[in-house]
Symmetry: C2
């Protein structure tokens, strides 16, 4: 059954911070009926996020109509809840809304919010909560299943979008492909997956290997990526994902025009060529693997600039390049199908 | 005050599985008065572990004399408690002993054991328990502090021993050096540190960066390593540690004669040369770094074989090589001091 969501983006309604909101609007199964941002009421989702058309921005939950669920639509660094959200969550609970959260701070472990949820009979769903506790074993991997992974130059470049667009395009062409979610927003969209960045360190690789074992009855798995091997904060997550998924093919995702690391802008990004070497070096420690294409996020560029960038990077790396939203994912889908053909033999 | 420890190694009293026991006997501050192994009573620690002299092996806690603490001396894969240990732990608690554990399964969250501990007034110390919750920030790193890290071809090759031996030898030569513990046994020995393999994925790099910030008033930090960048299970831990510690110099540790991954023997080890490339590639994404020496664990070799292996690897990699226990750590200490000299300028 389709639910009606209010998406909380309070004070952070721009596309890169509110990336959970953007993806749930773009790909989600449920209907978003309003954004809640007390700083910008009266605008539309399209105006703030570049997606969502006439979905209204409201300052008050009572203006959101008959919503079933309050979904937290931003991903702050470190995943902690801003203190000013507490009264909003309490009000949503009092209005009978379930809470869906992808924060590291678990709502379901907050005594005040849990007590309110009990009183008003609503459900708290902490998508990042997990009890992964198994190490990887490298047993029972089905060799006929092709594994593709979106990898990145940085956080927040669109790895999830790329993986979803490629998986859906493969499905439209008749392939038995599955998007494998590895983060909270991907899980909200797909309905299953593993919140890899919240798994205890020793079990990261094992939790991802479990995703392989659970999904390898499909012909092609397209794994959502996390972070970057060159990210000062999150590289451990990225490598555990890479070594658990053991991709045959990798799609390198980046945002054109970005120069410094997201939220750590004083640190320059590592070049695509150097990253390609790093990813191939590390992936091949587990399984033969290569970068087979580049996904460019060109939201900051005009059409001409975007075309120039696409040609420049394609020439530099000798790989197909596209922006899956601007150009469609076909060039990358072709690269995946080509790898599948060589692979099946 | 020195405590009296009984070390539990039940059914696993061989040096590689009981590595916590070996290290606590070799380096610990407290006095080990017995090993508890119901399968081999009457023997000595020296006979089973190759260390500890006449420390007796007992089958029953009551034969262990007046111990203050039961310390769990083995590290099973995944860190779970074998079910047959429960009655032993319960008896230790009833005899008034505190429990020290480095398992992933927290004793202090086991209702039966917690209730017994409360009844008999003993303390449960889960060394791996942590609440690390901060991301890395790359702010305030003191550039004059030299960071050295033990890295490995595999688990259980002696990275902790290498780091301790180098740090202690540096101290003996008058350097202001500190061993930085990153695992449960190291913490038991040093009294501080971080159990990196039990930190939530997003915060691994940050937890290690915190160790840098807390200890960088010393001139040289020697970080204990964890796992291996080529380990199918634990590579995420290894990379988070590498990117949090940002070592200037790395000491590559391996066990001569080992061919397959520890506990996954069907998977061959990655060569030292390939691993050196992988570690240098990954470390240099964060900070200029190089492998400056090789620590060989030659316990499986005789004296002649050990010397041949030392020469072979030294020639192959063009680096100083030694077994810190057999040959002493001097060659590696020289490499560290040389780096410090170039570094301070």
């Amino acid at each position: 059954m389709q639910k009606r969501l209010v998406v909380l983006t309070d004070g952070c309604s721009e596309p890169i911070t509110a990336k959970t909101a953007v993806s749930v609007i773009r790909y989600g199964h449920d209907k978003v009926i309003a954004l809640l941002d007390t700083t910008q009421p009266g605008k539309t989702s399209q105006e703030l996020l570049g997606i969502g058309g006439d979905i209204p921005v409201v300052a008050n939950l009572k203006d959101a109509g008959e919503a079933d669920v309050l979904l937290i639509g931003i991903a702050p660094p470190g995943g902690r809840m801003p203190p000013q959200w507490r009264p909003i969550l309490l009000e949503a609970i009092r209005l009978g809304m379930d809470i869906v959260s992808g924060l590291h701070d678990f709502i379901s472990e907050d005594p005040e919010l849990v007590s309110a949820a009990k009183e008003f009979g609503v459900v708290i769903n902490d998508v990042r909560k997990n009890d992964e506790h198994e190490v990887a074993n490298r047993v029972g991997i089905r060799p006929e299943c092709l594994r593709i992974q979106a990898i990145g130059q940085d956080c927040c470049v669109g790895k999830k979008v790329v993986a979803i667009e490629i998986a859906r395009a493969l499905q439209q062409r008749g392939s038995d492909a599955k998007f494998v979610a590895t983060g909270q927003t991907g899980i909200m969209i797909e309905g299953d997956g593993c919140p890899v960045d919240t798994v205890v360190a020793d079990f990261i690789n094992g939790a991802v290997e479990k995703l392989v074992l659970q999904n390898q009855h499909h012909d092609i798995l397209v794994f959502e990526g996390q972070g970057s091997l060159a990210h000062p904060r999150y590289s451990a997550v990225t490598l555990g994902l890479l070594h658990g998924a053991m991709p045959h093919g990798m799609i390198l995702c980046y945002e054109a025009g970005r120069e410094g690391i997201h939220n750590m802008e004083q640190i320059p990004l590592t070049s695509l060529a150097q990253l390609r070497t790093a990813y191939e070096t590390m992936a091949n420690l587990m399984h033969p693997s290569q970068v087979i294409g580049v996904a460019m996020n060109s939201r900051l560029l005009g059409d001409d600039e975007s075309q120039q960038e696409r040609e420049r990077v394609g020439k530099e790396l000798g790989l197909p390049v596209c922006d899956v939203l601007r150009h469609g994912p076909n060039d990358l889908v072709e690269a995946v199908l080509k790898m599948q053909q060589e692979f099946v033999g």
